[in-house]
C-alpha cells in the first residue's frame, strides 16, 4: 500500500507544485547545459558532410525536434488516459500543456526540414512520407488545441481532449503506415534522408546528445507550463494565494 502513496499524492496539485519547484530548476539547468554542449559540438566540431557540406548540420535541430514531437503526443494521450481512468486533475493539466509544446516541436521539425530541403533537394516542400506524416501529426495537435480552446467549461475541455488524443493515438500507427504505403506507391524513393546506420560516429554522438537534450528541454517546458496551469486553476485556494502574495 505504501508504495502507491506517491501515485495518489500526484493527484494533488499542491503536492506536485511544491515537489517540482526543485526538480524544475535542476532539469532546466541540465537542459540548458546539454543543449549548449550539443549545439556547439554539432555546429562547431562535428565534421562536415561529404556531399552536403555544412548544410546538414541542421540535423542537430531537425531530428531531435521530430523525435520529441512524436513522443510528446504519447505523453499527451497517456496523461489524458490517466485523467479519464483515475480522474486525476493534474494529468489533465499535463495533457493540456503538452499539446502546444508538441505542436511547436512538430512545427520546428517541419520548418527546419523545409530549410534543409532547399539546398539538398532543391525544394522547400517535398511530399515525402515522413514529412507528410509529420504534417498530419501537426494537424492532430492543432485539433486537440482547438477543442481545448473551444470549450468554456474546463472539465468538458479536459475530458473531450483526452478522448480525442486517445483516438488520435490509436490512429497514429495507421496513419503512418498508410502514408508510407501511399508514398511508395506514388513516388519513386529517390529522396532518402540520411539513414541512421550510415551516419559517422563523430556526427552521431552530438546528435544523440541533442536528442536527450531536447527531451530534457521538453520536460522542463512541460513542468514549467504545468506549474503555471496549476496556479491558474487553483487560484481560489489559500495556498496559491499565499504564494502569489509572497507569504511563502
Amino acid at each position: 500500500m505504501a508504495s502507491w502513496q506517491w501515485f495518489h499524492r500526484l493527484g494533488s496539485p499542491k503536492w506536485f507544485y511544491e515537489k517540482t519547484t526543485r526538480w524544475t530548476q535542476v532539469i532546466g539547468w541540465l537542459a540548458l547545459a546539454m543543449l549548449s554542449v550539443g549545439i556547439i559540438w554539432g555546429l562547431g566540431f562535428a565534421p562536415a558532410e561529404l556531399k552536403q557540406g555544412n548544410s546538414y548540420r541542421i540535423i542537430y535541430i531537425h531530428v531531435p525536434a521530430a523525435a520529441v514531437a512524436m513522443a510528446g503526443y504519447y505523453v499527451m494521450a497517456f496523461s489524458g488516459a490517466v485523467g479519464l481512468i483515475w480522474r486525476m486533475k493534474l494529468s489533465y493539466m499535463v495533457m493540456k500543456c503538452a499539446a502546444p509544446i508538441g505542436a511547436a516541436l512538430t512545427f520546428a521539425a517541419l520548418f527546419t526540414g523545409a530549410v534543409w530541403g532547399k539546398p539538398t533537394w532543391g525544394d522547400y516542400w517535398v511530399w515525402d512520407a515522413r514529412i507528410t506524416s509529420m504534417l498530419i501529426l501537426f494537424f492532430l495537435y492543432l485539433g486537440v488545441m482547438a477543442l481545448q480552446e473551444a470549450y468554456q467549461n474546463q472539465e468538458a475541455a479536459d475530458k473531450t481532449c483526452a478522448i480525442l488524443s486517445l483516438v488520435g493515438m490509436v490512429n497514429i500507427p495507421i496513419i503512418y503506415k498508410s502514408v508510407d504505403w501511399w508514398f511508395t506507391l506514388h513516388q519513386p524513393a529517390t529522396l532518402k534522408l540520411t539513414e541512421k546506420s550510415s551516419i559517422a560516429p563523430e556526427m552521431a554522438y552530438p546528435l544523440i546528445l541533442m536528442i536527450f537534450a531536447v527531451y530534457m528541454f521538453f520536460a522542463w517546458l512541460l513542468l514549467t507550463k504545468v506549474r503555471v496551469e496549476i496556479l491558474h486553476r487553483e487560484v481560489k485556494t489559500q495556498w496559491v494565494k499565499d504564494i502569489v502574495m509572497g507569504v511563502k
Binding site: F139, A150, A156, T160, G168, I174, L185
Partner: protein
C-alpha cells in the same frame, strides 16, 4: 419474476434498437432538405473542377478518382454536425443516456442511419460524377465499392468528432478540424483502389484494407462516441 429479466432485457434491447432506428428514419425523411444538402454540395464542387483546372478530358480523367473521393469526404464532413445536434438540443440525447439500454448500441444505430442517409446516396451519385469527370470505365465498380465501405468508416470515425463537439454552440468547424486528420488512411486507400483499377491493376488489397479499417472502426468507435456523449451531455 426473477427468471424473466435476462430474456426480457434481450428482447427490450432489440425493441429499443428498432425503435431508435425507425425514429431516425422518420426524422431523416421529414427533413428531406438536410438529406439532399450533402448531395447538392457533392455535385456543385464537381462543377468547380473543370472551371478551375481544365475542361480537357485527359486532365479530368487523371484527376477523377482522387477528386471524387476528396469531395465525398468533404460532403460527409458537412453532414456530421447534424448527427447528434438536434437530439442534443431537444433533450432526446439525454433520454438515450438515461435509458437502461447500452449506449454504444444505440449510438451504433444512429450511425447506421447516418450512413444509410448520406454514405449510400453519395455512393449512388458517383456514376453521374464519374461521367462528368470522364472516369474510365474500369473505375466505376472500385469507386462504388470503396465508397460503400469508406463512407461507413467515415460515418463511424466522424461520429466521434460529432460527439466531442455537440456541446459546443459553434462546433461545425472544430468538428472538421478534429476529424480530417483521422480520415487520411481512408482517403489514401479509397482513392488508390480506384487509381489502381484505372491503371489495370488488381485493387482487392486496398478494398481488404478499407474493410479492415471499417471493421476496427465498427468495433471501437461506438465506445468512444458513447464516452464522448456522456461528457458532452453531463458538463
Amino acid at each position: 419474476m426473477h427468471s424473466l429479466p435476462a430474456n426480457n432485457q434481450h428482447s427490450s434491447l432489440t425493441t429499443a434498437l428498432t425503435t431508435c432506428f425507425r425514429r431516425e428514419m422518420i426524422v431523416a425523411f421529414r427533413h428531406k432538405g438536410e438529406l439532399a444538402n450533402p448531395l447538392i454540395f457533392f455535385l456543385m464542387v464537381v462543377v468547380f473542377i473543370p472551371l478551375g483546372i481544365s475542361p480537357e478530358k485527359t486532365v479530368l480523367m487523371a484527376l477523377a478518382p482522387g477528386m471524387i473521393w476528396v469531395i465525398a469526404l468533404l460532403a460527409t464532413l458537412l453532414s456530421l454536425d447534424g448527427l447528434f445536434r438536434s437530439d442534443f438540443d431537444d433533450g432526446s440525447l439525454e433520454q438515450m443516456l438515461l435509458s437502461p439500454q447500452p449506449l454504444p448500441w444505440l449510438v451504433l444505430t444512429k450511425i447506421l442511419a447516418h450512413w444509410l442517409m448520406t454514405g449510400i446516396p453519395l455512393m449512388l451519385l458517383t456514376p453521374l460524377l464519374g461521367t462528368m469527370l470522364y472516369l474510365p470505365a474500369e473505375g466505376y465498380l472500385p469507386l462504388m465499392i470503396s465508397l460503400l465501405i469508406g463512407t461507413g468508416s467515415m460515418s463511424l470515425i466522424g461520429s466521434i468528432g460529432a460527439a466531442l463537439t455537440v456541446g459546443l454552440r459553434k462546433g461545425g468547424l472544430i468538428l472538421s478540424l478534429v476529424v480530417m486528420p483521422l480520415y487520411v488512411p481512408v482517403l489514401i486507400f479509397g482513392a488508390s483502389a480506384v487509381n489502381e483499377a484505372v491503371q489495370g491493376f488488381a485493387y482487392t488489397g486496398q478494398i481488404a484494407i478499407l474493410s479492415a479499417m471499417f471493421v476496427s472502426a465498427l468495433v471501437l468507435a461506438p465506445f468512444a462516441v458513447a464516452g464522448a456523449l456522456r461528457i458532452s451531455v453531463n458538463t
